[in-house]
Structures are given as C-alpha cells and as structure tokens.
C-alpha cells in the first residue's frame, strides 16, 4: 500500500486541525452565547443582577466579555495542541530525513530539510488562527444580538445556523447584486437584503489558502481584523440597544 508523502501528511494534518478549530470555535461561540440570556431569565438570575445598580449594557458587556475570554482560552488550548503535534511530527520527519540522507552532499541535505520545514510549521499559521478567533467573536456577538429578542436558546441556535450558511454565501449575493446580474426587482431586493444585513463570513476563511501555501500579507490581515472587530462591536451595541427595550 502506497504511503502518503510528508508534504501530503502535513497538509492533511493542518487542514483537518484548522478546520476542526474553526468548526469548534464557531459552535462554541453560538451554543455558549445562545444560552446566556434565556438561562438567566429562566433562573431569574437576571432580575437579581439588574435589581442592583448594574446598567443593562454592563450586564451584556460582562456576558460577551466572558464568552470572548472562553473562546480565547479554547482557541489557545486547541492551537497549542495542534502546534505541538505538528512540531513533534516535523522533528520526526527531520530526523528521518537526516538519517536517510546521511551519505548525500550537505547542500542536498539542506534542501531536503528546508522542504520539510516549509511544508510543516510556518509563521502564516498564526494570523490564520487569529482570524478563526475573530470569526468566532463575530458569531458570539451576533448570537448575543439574536438572543436579545429570541425567547428560547433553541430558536437562537437554529437562527444562527441559518445565518452561518447565509453568511458564507453573502459575498456571492453581494457581487451579483452590485454587478447587476440579477433579473427582476424581487431577486434584486432579496440580494440587497442579504448583502446589507448579513456579515461576509467567507472573508474570514483564510486558513484554507494559508495551509495550501499562500502567504497572508500584513495589509490583508489588518483589514480582516478591522472588519472582525467592526462586526463584533456593532452586533454587541445592537444587542445592548435591543436589550434596553426588552421587558423583563
């Protein structure tokens, strides 16, 4: 049976690990945030807290800060495990390469070692992981916003699942709308609503290309980070606005 080469092995390891990190942080962001307000209302904890001199925005900011911290810790733990596995495997492959090429000229050994290092751990993985975290923060803030007018956490999770898929299609809808490809005003209006209301989640899917070897520029990383922070702030403020009007 043919074995995978070290490049194939590293690529699959990175794809699966980063994909798993992306799905788990997104799931954690949605599920953990969706339960916050409905559970506090159900347990009547919210009344105890808000009866004290705690403004509603502080209550919500505390909730979102807690979720963001939870997401940061979980991303950190997952990244540490992933990087440790990748580093260990890289060292094993490097030792194997040195052993197999013990009689080869120094230049060839250096080339081979460089190829191993280039396909394993690289610096571009770190901005990729940061973008995964930013996407989770955005989803957490959006979930908080949805949960301020939702009555149950199940409703919030279902709505967020739809938003997750629509968010990944938003870029396609936006381009069709702005380039005027759509025919009929109903389609045009629908695309406009999708493009204006939903966040562009595809903008945060950079890890696929990073694993494939594409380098992420500082400008691109900075703009993605700004967009992520913008969305998170806006949805949190909207959540505060809706929560102020909510009858408890």
């Amino acid at each position: 049976m043919a074995q995978l080469t070290f490049q194939q092995e590293f690529q699959i390891l990175k794809d699966v690990s980063l994909g798993a990190m992306s799905i788990f942080t997104s799931l954690l962001a949605i599920v953990a945030t969706a339960r916050l307000i409905p559970q506090d209302i159900e347990d009547r904890t919210v009344y105890t807290i808000l009866a004290k001199p705690v403004p509603r925005f502080e209550y919500l900011l505390g909730k979102i800060a807690g979720v963001l911290l939870l997401l940061a810790i979980s991303t950190l733990i997952m990244s540490s495990v992933f990087l440790a596995v990748l580093y260990t495997r890289e060292q094993t492959v490097l030792h194997e390469t040195v052993r197999q090429m013990s009689k080869a000229p120094r230049e060839q050994v250096d080339d081979a070692l460089r190829a191993v290092r280039a396909s394993a751990l690289n610096i571009d993985l770190f901005p990729g992981i940061t973008v995964i975290y930013l996407k989770a923060c955005l989803l957490a803030a959006l979930t908080l916003f949805v949960s301020t007018f939702a009555t149950t956490s199940i409703f919030t999770i279902v709505v967020m699942t739809f938003i997750y898929f629509i968010g990944h299609l938003q870029a396609t809808a936006r381009e069709y709308w702005l380039q005027g490809h759509s025919s009929g005003w109903i389609t045009h209006g629908f695309l406009a609503v999708v493009a204006l209301i939903f966040p562009d989640l595809q903008a945060f899917n950079l890890v696929d290309d990073i694993v494939a070897g594409a380098a992420i520029s500082l400008g691109l990383f900075a703009k993605t980070a700004v967009l992520g922070i913008f969305y998170t702030t806006i949805y949190t403020l909207l959540a505060v606005f809706v929560f102020y009007g909510k009858e408890l």
Binding site: Q8, R174, A214, V226
Partner: protein
C-alpha cells in the same frame, strides 16, 4: 417600532460595511485568495453534502477527503477516477501546489506508463495515443496550476521536467526551468538545468555555452560533472579556441 429601528440601523450599517467588504474581496482576488467559484458546475461535481461543506468554509477538508479517495483510486490503478477526483481537488484548492503537482504526476508519469503497458490493448498505435493523451492531461493540470499560482516556482519546474522527460522538447524545458529560476525561493539548480536543456537545442549552442560558462565562472559549487560535460561538448561543437576552454579535470 424598535424592531423597525433595529432593521433600519442594520441596513445603514450594512451600507457602511459594504465598501469594506468589497475592498477586502478585491485584496483577496489580488492575492489569489478565494479562487473558488461556488456555482452549479461545482455543485454537480461535489454532490450535495460536499458542496454544503465547501460552502460553509470547509473546502480544504472536502479537498483532503477527495484527495485520499484519489490516492486509493491510484492504488487500484483506476485512472479515470483518479483524473475525476483530482479535477475536483484542484478546483476546491487551487492554491495548493501539492495537489496540482500530484495530479500532473499521476497523469503524465503513472497513467501514461500504465496506458503504454496496457495488455488489454494489442494495438501499439492506440497505446501510444492513450499515452499522449495522459501527457496532455498532466500538462493541462500544470498549466492551470501555474495560472492559479504564478508566483511559485515549483509548478514551472515540474512542467519543465514534463517537457524534458515526456515530450523531449528541450527548448520548452529550458524556457520553463528559466521561468522557475527567476522566481523567489527557486532552487539554484533550475538555472543549471535551464542551461543544460538549452545545450541540446540545435542552433542555440552559443547561448547555451555563454550561460554554462557564466555559471562555471560564478562559483566552484556550480562546477558539477554534468555542467563540465555539457561545456566540453559545446566547446568542441562551437570550435572554441584552446586557450579559452575550461581546464580538463584532474585524472
């Protein structure tokens, strides 16, 4: 009333975020991110589940799963399936050099040899035809890979090897080795290989000689056996005066 106000705020903020998103999409295209078009063609290729997974930001994982299937198909020498799966894989991950390289290798090196040794086909002409078709498939993968990754030297190098080993086209091989050598991060041997290939081209011996001679003078490390052999061959062919020739190797 509050709901309407929230909707209005969302739409106004949407209008503010739109230029930011478009700007980011432009940078993505410039830097060759988001190279995948999610359309009906891809939906038909991947099936419902694969398409949904790819849409949800898991196209790399879908590509890996298909790549493993292609690997299994290769072990079973199911060449049509290997081709089909690699087309899907490279569509999903156009930035992965590894996938383009593997696809081309399977087609031009493995499937072509299998076609030539196909015992089920007694007619040599048809076996040769099948072999040439697999070469062309390999070349097509590499050319499309280069189009998606114009800044990476690896696929230029593989295409040069394809021209050298499969088509015996030394001129094109030399051209692509030179293109690879001109890109950042390319191994040093690409320059040598480009000059070697040029030395086999009728009518371009002088150019090849100049390039090989330049490499010879550049550093001791470049004075490898093949380089010296090709230089000596060209010296004889071009009738270079004895005092300008490189010294013979010590016995």
């Amino acid at each position: 009333m509050r709901v309407l106000l929230v909707l209005l705020i969302l739409i106004v903020l949407g209008a503010i975020k739109l230029p930011m998103e478009r700007d980011l999409a432009v940078i993505h295209r410039q830097e060759h991110f988001r190279g995948v078009e999610f359309n009906l063609d891809l939906r038909e290729k991947l099936g419902q589940l694969g398409f949904i997974a790819a849409l949800s930001g898991f196209r790399a994982i879908v590509a890996d799963a298909l790549f493993i299937q292609a690997h299994v198909a290769w072990e079973r020498t199911e060449w049509s399936r290997v081709l089909l799966l690699f087309r899907h894989v490279t569509t999903l991950q156009p930035r992965s050099i590894l996938f383009w390289d593997m696809a081309a290798w399977h087609m031009a090196w493995n499937a072509s040899v299998a076609a030539m040794n196909d015992r089920a086909q007694p007619r040599l002409a048809l076996r040769v035809k099948a072999q040439r078709e697999y070469f062309a498939l390999g070349k097509d993968f590499l050319e499309r890979g280069i189009k998606n990754n114009p800044d990476r030297p690896e696929l230029y190098e593989t295409l040069a090897r394809l021209y050298r080993e499969k088509y015996k086209d030394h001129e094109r091989a030399s051209e692509f080795f030179a293109k690879a050598a001109a890109l950042p991060g390319a191994p040093r041997y690409n320059r040598r290989f480009s000059a070697y290939e040029l030395s086999y081209c009728e009518g371009r011996e002088r150019e090849a000689y100049d390039r090989l001679h330049q490499l010879y003078n550049e550093s001791e490390k470049e004075r490898l056996p093949t380089l010296i052999t090709r230089l000596k061959f060209l010296e004889n062919k071009l009738g270079i005066p004895q005092d300008e020739r490189i010294p013979d190797r010590a016995p």
